[in-house]
Symmetry: C2
Subunit: 292 residues, 2 copies
């Protein structure tokens, strides 16, 4: 596991470096500081890790997959900046640092998120991401589907709606919500390697569906059990708001059991790749063992 | 001119139809109504007109250029929904109808804008927009540059900043701000036809730069002279906020003179196309003669 932790840290650092090169940095542009604050946040870079490792299954050059990873991290960062806004989740802290609307203001946060979304597509459209235009548009088209009104944005909208209803959501509804809100981008990340290699990547579809759901169950577990100082953000938000979660519906033990079983499914899906998929198996385990 | 007005109306209708097909419409998706409210707003569709007419110079099929037009109208609609938010321009009316955050709420408006931006890229990534992947990524990459942290978003940020400074902007600073805020998307629209045809489109670059600036000068003129009932939005905002505008710096007469002269430049730039560029010449005149 030490080996895995090193790998995760190294790819996070490499992603941060690639991002730092790709983010705007003109000294006279007032968007630069808020955008860099939002995107260079020292996160785990789980999505970039999935992008890089799935690409390595097919022998894709990491210079390309790190750019794909940087693009998905921009998309993820945009969603966090907007989710943190007072009109959404109203969060003041993100990874222990003030959120963009706290450090600047709401207008700056809306615009920084907007620009980060745009940048994700700009990175993918660049020939440096893949010499083949067909590959680039496939990445762009699928990322747009995963992020838009039928993907991540829908998930966020359903999540907000869930706070304003008196009947708590049922398990299927939570699964649907989470598949959109968090699952879609995680799935895209893990499938991007196959797209870079122009492979159908059936195994990765199965793998990433299981990992995405396990990730969200563990998020709910951590919301109850986690250490908010360690997490650098407010926890117990869902319990406080009496929102239905995997944990409230299944109980803690059962939720953890299902998450562990999903990790098994995810690993099984990669069987045909043999040991070269070990990093993807390890990250699946990491997803349900993480403490933040 | 009757002929031109018909053409403008027809392309606006065709754009509205294409948009209506492309926008989400699942009955159980809560994003559908706010997104359709924002995008199907009965606007003039000036940007789509520029896209379609520039493409027709090169004999590009209008099924393709109307999709390009629909994409730019999604991008434009996203920017309006976000600009109208209370933390930005705080506008309650847009084309005589309640803005998204008034009809729904701020969170819905943030998300509807987000999804409309995503949709713009999704439309362009689809092979129906052009059978050549190279063309689609060129459209996507250039639209991202025009819209992001060094384009439209920067312009909006500079515009907000201009409201909070005591020294009014100088003419060059306003030109820079407006070239980003409105100019970038107008230029992209008028150049998209050349991109669809894989032509450098030097004439369209010159044309669209002049038209973009003329457009913004006329916006400032209308802010002073216009009829807010006709415009369906609040006017005299800039005068009320004592913000520097082309009109406040140049005077009304001089501003109108410059706008007219820019229209001359725009038309001259199209000389080599002969009469087949007449619609683009007419729309340049329309830009400075419009009443809303």
């Amino acid at each position: 596991m030490q080996n895995f932790t090193n790998k995760l840290t190294n790819i996070a650092k490499a992603t941060e470096n690639v991002l730092s090169e790709l983010l705007p940095d003109a000294h006279d542009n007032p968007m630069v500081a808020p955008i860099r604050h939002a995107a260079l946040n020292g996160g785990k870079r789980l999505r970039a890790f999935l992008a890089v490792q799935s690409a390595s299954l097919y022998g894709v050059d990491s210079a390309m997959s790190l750019r794909t990873g940087a693009a998905i991290e921009c998309m993820h960062a945009y969603s966090l900046v907007h989710d943190d806004l007072p009109c959404m989740d109203d969060d003041e802290l993100r990874r222990g640092k003030p959120t963009v609307h706290i450090k600047w203001d709401d207008a700056t946060a809306v615009l920084a998120g907007d620009a980060l979304q745009t940048l994700a597509f700009e990175i993918l459209a660049d020939p440096k991401t893949s010499p083949q235009a067909e590959v680039r548009v496939a990445l762009i088209g699928s990322l747009a589907k995963a992020s838009g009104a039928e993907g991540m944005v829908l998930g966020q909208m359903l999540d907000i709606a869930a706070e304003n209803i008196t009947t708590p959501l049922k398990l299927d509804e939570i699964k649907h919500l989470q598949a959109k809100k968090t699952g879609a981008l995680i799935q895209w990340s893990a499938q991007s390697g196959a797209m870079l290699a122009q492979d159908a990547g059936i195994e990765l579809i199965e793998y990433s569906t299981a990992v995405g759901l396990a990730f969200q169950i563990q998020d709910d577990v951590l919301d109850v059990l986690g250490n908010s100082e360690l997490a650098g953000k407010r926890l117990q938000k869902d319990a406080d708001s009496r929102k239905a979660t995997f944990v409230s519906l299944l109980g803690l033990e059962q939720a953890q059991k299902i998450a562990t079983s999903l990790v098994g499914d995810a690993c099984d899906a990669l069987a045909s790749f043999g040991p070269k998929a070990d990093a993807l198996r390890q990250v699946a385990h990491f997803v349900v063992n993480r403490q933040l």
